[in-house]
Symmetry: C2
Subunit: 185 residues, 2 copies
């Protein structure tokens, strides 16, 4: 299951991306998906029409760098969130500060759906969400908001995530790039 | 200076964005700049041609949400980094893990230049940098990498940053949006 021995276990931690606009949001949405993977979520779901560019980018990263994720696109966002069996968390700069609410969120063992919007998010999501969470009450980015949220949820244990089935692995280095090819797995 | 009473003080913490491509990177670069501001940097500098869209977006946020930042564009990135008086930190997935190096970086009181690249970064930057730092050795995003780096550098004190001169302020709420207009400053 994603090879996350040191992460807290919630069954599912899925990210639902709302309001993706194919041309404008392609790179941001791809970054949201990569953050989901790198910081320990095990599902990425896109509302609305499927954007093959985004999906192919994530699949390519999964093939090269390992890990398993549930990927899904074209869902009805409101229906998906309403029928989620677990906690629904909506990241918004208008919400309750992360540091005040994270212990409460983290203490429940239920699966978690983390909703990440684009510019405008329909009012209904604020109602459906069990938690509207602000990663700072300042404008920045859904990419950084998701990263900080997952960092705090899993208490920084993304530093130890092992991604099974990786073909490539980085050897950390002080200068330059060292990438190892992992064979025979 | 930016109203950051609870942040560690390094004089300057500037972010240098490399390799911005006007159409393709506009939104990502804007998010990088907003992360710089929201997480406590006090300067944002862009290599290469000036992209007015990006600069206008940041200036607009500064006017509405407060804070002061040094903004600059059109610089020669290599020259800028080489002549920086202080520590040069290059964020790259190939570098030394953040958690292993952050105490060493944070313990120096010198001004810090944090370099954030786009897809390809010239080899010279790896050489110029005093620290090549990896926020996880996995692909994700320069937006999340910068946010986590600043979070650890300032020990999470972005939650307490006060932005002077803000016209708008959010009243955190459990459901919905509450924005207060701040007058008379």
């Amino acid at each position: 299951m994603n090879g996350l021995p040191q992460l807290r276990v919630y069954g599912k931690v899925y990210v639902l991306r709302l309001g993706h606009r194919p041309e404008r949001d392609r790179r941001i949405t791809t970054h949201v998906a990569l953050v989901a993977r790198a910081f320990g979520a095990n599902g990425f779901v896109m509302e609305g029409t499927c954007d093959d560019h985004v999906m192919r980018s994530i699949e390519k990263v999964l093939r090269s760098w390992g890990g398993k994720m549930h990927l899904e696109c074209g869902v009805d966002g409101l229906r998906y969130a309403s029928s989620w069996e677990g906690d629904v968390i909506h990241l918004t700069m208008y919400g309750v500060p992360l540091e005040k609410i994270i212990d409460s969120i983290a203490s429940s063992p239920r699966p978690k759906l983390v909703i990440v919007g684009a510019e405008k998010v329909r009012r209904e999501y604020y109602e459906i969400a069990h938690y509207n969470v602000a990663v700072g009450n300042q404008p920045h980015s859904e990419v950084s908001a998701l990263a900080l949220f997952l960092d705090r949820l899993f208490r920084g244990s993304w530093t130890n995530i092992m991604f099974e089935g990786a073909k490539l692995k980085i050897i950390p280095s002080e200068k330059g790039k060292r990438v190892m090819r992992v064979d025979g797995r």
